[in-house]
């Protein structure tokens, strides 16, 4: 047993006051969870402390919250680990995590280098209803509905169930593991800057249907998500959702797969997402290292040499980048021909070797999904004897919700 101080960001809708911090002292084993700590405080100190929870075993997805600024599940975070994190941040910055991740400043941020309060806040990117309870409807469920989260098969339904090869479903097992807790939405840095972004949970759900062999509207789904300025090309690739997800769904990876599939389907989007990707890949094939000015030009006006047909948006973006370029020339940052003129960038001495790699990879394009395949040596020997292949999904996955 050990003593911990948990510092909770509270909000009571019935009072006229804004959010405030309150500290509780709890006493429990370090291996127990932050949620256990909260429930002890609720039981012993203040029954009005509001927190959603049910299973306490990282299955129901109810207790999403921020712990020391990190989004996750209260029941899956050990309180001992949360204490170590709080102490580490305090030692490095001299400020407790409370001040680091919140606009409201509270008391008690001046403890020593150990025994700092564990800071607990409601999830981000969502309105708070009371204390740690957020409104999941406005930013989570609305966006989930936005991606048509059900199967759209064509033709007559079969007399009984659909039959699919198990192998054809492996690709979407990772996205099926989602328990709809909202931790990824809470952590999303694109959504912080653009609340309209469809977001990690809904886009991972979209991949679950895009990758489903029974669905007949794959192209329409991809077209819709690529077309939307708040869709797959609005993800800023920050990995926050990957670290927040308690189930290994890696929503950002699913968004990148949506982009890849959209590219394979030849979908041209008005956000220059596909053009940017192709421009990048082609420049490295040609030069080996990045020609930044060519990347900019080709992202907006691809194929400039043959057929220049940039969209209105592309012309606006190109013109908009001129002041930045002029500033760069003035300071000397961009004062050389190969930085100014697209395509003058020198190629690597053995660029043929890079081209050979392209030729090899384009024949295969193998995807290596660690979630599905695992790492070598991970399986126990008796599993191997039972003939369980590495290509099967990991044990303990829940059914899709």
């Amino acid at each position: 047993m050990a003593d911990y101080t948990i510092k909770v960001r509270r909000f009571q809708p019935e009072s006229d006051e804004g959010p405030y911090w309150e500290e509780f002292n709890v006493d429990l084993d370090p291996s127990l969870s932050v949620l256990d700590g909260l429930l002890q405080a609720k039981d012993r100190d203040d029954g009005s402390l509001a927190v959603r929870c049910s299973c306490r075993a990282a299955i129901c997805g109810s207790c999403g919250m921020k712990i020391n600024g990190q989004s996750g599940l209260g029941c899956k975070t050990q309180i001992g680990e949360a204490q170590e994190q709080a102490d580490k941040m305090k030692a490095a910055t001299g400020v407790s995590a409370a001040a680091a991740d919140s606009p409201i400043r509270g008391e008690g941020a001046d403890a020593g280098s150990a025994g700092n309060p564990i800071v607990i806040e409601p999830m981000g990117n969502m309105p708070v209803i009371k204390d740690l309870i957020t409104d999941m409807e406005s930013t989570h469920w609305t966006k989930i509905r936005r991606v048509t989260p059900w199967l759209l098969p064509h033709g007559e339904p079969p007399e009984r169930e659909y039959i699919v090869e198990p192998e054809s479903m492996i690709d979407i097992t990772q996205s099926m593991a989602c328990i709809q807790c909202g931790a990824c939405v809470s952590s999303c840095l694109s959504m912080e800057a653009d609340p309209g972004f469809i977001g990690p949970a809904a886009l991972a759900k979209a991949y679950r249907f895009v990758g489903d062999p029974r669905d007949a509207e794959t192209h329409e789904r991809l077209h819709d998500l690529a077309d939307d300025p708040h869709g797959i090309y609005d993800c800023t690739h920050c990995f926050s959702c990957i670290d927040a997800c308690p189930k290994g769904v890696a929503p950002m990876d699913q968004i990148m797969r949506l982009r890849r599939k959209a590219g394979e389907e030849g979908i041209e989007d008005p956000n220059s997402g596909h053009d940017h990707e192709i421009a990048f890949v082609k420049i490295i094939e040609k030069k080996g290292t990045l020609d930044e000015s060519l990347l900019l030009q080709e992202s907006f006006a691809p194929g400039v040499k043959g057929k220049l047909k940039p969209s209105k948006r592309a012309i606006r973006e190109m013109l908009g980048s001129i002041p930045t370029a002029i500033r760069g020339i003035k300071t000397g940052k961009m004062r050389s021909l190969h930085k100014l003129i697209p395509g003058v960038h020198p190629k690597l001495p053995d660029q043929d070797d890079v081209k050979a790699i392209y030729a090899h990879a384009e024949e295969h394009n193998e995807e290596f999904n660690l979630y599905i395949k695992g790492e070598e040596g991970e399986l126990a020997e008796d599993d191997v004897e039972k003939g369980i292949e590495r290509s099967t999904a990991p044990a303990g996955q829940e059914a899709d919700k």
Binding site: K88, D194, P229, D234, T236, L290, K333, A356, H360
Partner: protein, 305 residues
């Protein structure tokens, strides 16, 4: 901490020789002052910055396996100076290391070039950002001894770049749990003062600058503004792509967040270089878009006795 001198295969990346040439230059200068030997990998290729992996994962893995193999040919571990290189290369290395059959398949594509990537033993062959190498291999105590111009009174906000802080499992945080507070430690070792603000481990927005300009610039502008409000004299970053959005795009970001900005953003080797006695002009600070004059004035005012 090893008392030996640092000698590494050095991958400078693309942007440090493109739109942030001051980074490559200052890294060379700082290595000289620290007594590090850098064997530059001038035949290596772009890491793909996550974009090539988005297009074709196997292609990205093979391209980076080539870079690793070139580094391994020198018999040395590898150093990068870009958070994005670190993240993109660690991602490929993780997949290559996870499965010997996949590794063999990738190496087959390199065999014609006489190259092969070999998985290192635990703690064996590594690819580390300058920041990690500085703290883990060179050591903060040795760094402190080298300081001739302590950054006294300089208030510095750390800015890491997503690719070097997430995902934690891939980036070795289980062995090195403090990697997300190294910038703070370095700032303190150099005699500077750490400024805590909201954006230190958030995204600069650069990856979507061509696709979602407003989302991108709002992120950059918000973080710079928060650092100013917290009293920062400058930011420091180990990522040249973050530098592009935080510095080069700063005047554009100011328009999106609708406020005056004007905060110097230093590359990590520049901050180290200043403390080691290098002049701002040698470190290419005049090439920045956001003026670094305030930082220079601060340092002259606080010159050591």
């Amino acid at each position: 901490m090893s008392a030996e001198n640092i000698k590494v295969a050095y991958w400078p990346g693309c942007v440090s020789r493109g739109f942030t040439p001051e980074l490559h230059g200052s890294m060379g200068l700082v290595a000289e002052k620290l007594g590090w030997e850098l064997v530059e990998l001038d035949r290596a290729n772009c890491c793909g910055a996550g974009v090539i992996a988005e297009h074709n994962q196997e292609l990205a893995d093979t391209l980076n396996a080539r870079t690793f193999a070139l580094a391994q040919q020198t018999g040395l571990s590898m150093m990068n100076i870009c958070s994005t290189c670190q993240g993109a290369q660690s991602e490929c290395q993780q997949r290559l290391d996870a499965d010997s059959a996949y590794r063999a398949h990738i190496n087959e594509a390199l065999s014609g070039q006489g190259l092969s990537y070999e998985k290192g033993e635990e703690g064996g062959w590594t690819n580390k950002n300058f920041l990690w190498l500085l703290v883990e291999d060179y050591g903060l105590d040795r760094l402190r001894e080298q300081v001739v111009r302590p950054l006294s009174g300089l208030r510095v906000g750390p800015f890491y770049g997503c690719y070097i802080v997430r995902p934690k499992e891939r980036l070795g945080y289980n062995h090195h749990p403090d990697r997300d507070v190294y910038l703070e430690k370095v700032i303190e070792a150099l005699g500077g003062q750490v400024v805590e603000y909201d954006g230190a481990r958030k995204c600069c927005g650069f990856p979507v600058i061509t696709m979602a300009r407003e989302t991108s610039l709002r992120q950059a502008g918000t973080h710079v503004g928060d650092a100013i409000d917290a009293g920062a004299d400058c930011l420091v970053t180990p990522c040249p792509l973050c530098h592009l959005n935080l510095d080069m795009q700063q005047p554009e970001a100011a328009k999106v967040v609708n406020r005056d900005l004007g905060l110097a953003v230093l590359h990590l080797p520049q901050l180290v270089g200043l403390a080691l006695g290098a002049e701002p002009s040698e470190l290419g600070m005049a090439k920045h878009i956001a003026s670094t004059r305030w930082v220079e004035e601060r340092l002259t005012a606080g010159a050591p006795a």
